[in-house]
């Protein structure tokens, strides 16, 4: 576990298209979000709607190093609603997700992106 958490995060804002299959609904729900940071293990996402910890989602990251979105299945580990007042009121959800399933090709693309961002890498938030 400690080994996983030692992976560097990259502070970057990329578009992350989320797909969630809600219990009791036969239609998957799609919504757009964006990253605050990303690592090989997970990501911190800003979403336009609330989502409960424990939810499973599929996330297609629009990485600038990849023409095709990188699709990763993830579990919501924590979630907190945030309200920001600038010139208008904005409410959104700050979400931490852990990647649980990634195809080899997607993993390679994510690694390629992470390698291109070494200048924006920071240590894991783990204490």
């Amino acid at each position: 576990m400690n080994e996983r958490r030692s992976v560097s995060r990259v502070l970057t804002k990329v578009v992350a298209n989320c797909i969630r299959c809600k219990a009791g609904s036969s239609f998957p729900e799609h919504f757009v979000s964006f990253t605050k940071d990303i690592s090989m293990d997970g990501a911190r996402l800003i979403m336009p709607k609330s989502i409960e910890a424990g939810s499973m989602i599929s996330v297609a990251f629009e990485l600038p190093t990849s023409f095709i979105p990188v699709l990763i299945h993830a579990e919501v580990i924590w979630s907190q609603s945030v309200v920001v007042w600038s010139d208008a009121l904005h409410s959104f959800t700050d979400v931490g997700v852990k990647f649980v399933d990634m195809q080899g090709m997607d993993e390679d693309k994510l690694k390629e992106f992470m390698d291109s961002k070494t200048d924006q890498a920071v240590p894991s938030a783990n204490s």
Binding site: T12, V15, T65, A88
Partner: protein, 132 residues
């Protein structure tokens, strides 16, 4: 009608740039273009006057969302209209501090209206600010 304002197009799609360039030139704008954010930042760094930026938020090399933040930080006085294949509502969520939004499925007339709206807003702010 336009007093030769300069607009910088940042978009990796050459056909889109060409389409926008032709439309903007026909409206008497001076047009600069960049195919990625890095070269756009270099261009802006040359300190030549740019009155408006049209920024595609999905581009190669660097995230358009990151580029938006970098431009806003380095050149806060230049208004930015964000363009993408995402709906206006989605774009407003992704980049809530943009000055305008253009959904690429909309007609160019919508874009021209958005440009006009942004310039009017800028003019009214500068007038209220009394800077000059």
């Amino acid at each position: 009608m336009n007093p030769q304002k300069t607009i910088l197009i940042i978009d990796d799609d050459a056909r889109m740039r060409d389409l926008l360039k032709r439309q903007l030139k026909s409206e008497n704008f001076v047009v600069w273009e960049s195919s990625d954010g890095e070269s756009a930042l270099r261009l802006l760094g040359q300190r030549k006057k740019v009155h408006l930026i049209l920024l595609d938020i999905l581009m190669p090399l660097a995230s358009g969302l990151d580029i938006f933040d970098q431009i806003k930080k380095a050149f806060p006085d230049i208004p930015i209209i964000v363009t993408s294949v995402y709906s206006r509502e989605e774009q407003e969520f992704l980049v809530w501090d943009a000055d305008g939004y253009y959904y690429k499925s909309e007609s160019l007339r919508v874009l021209m209206q958005e440009i006009e709206r942004v310039f009017k807003a800028e003019y009214s702010v500068s007038k209220r600010g009394g800077g000059g």
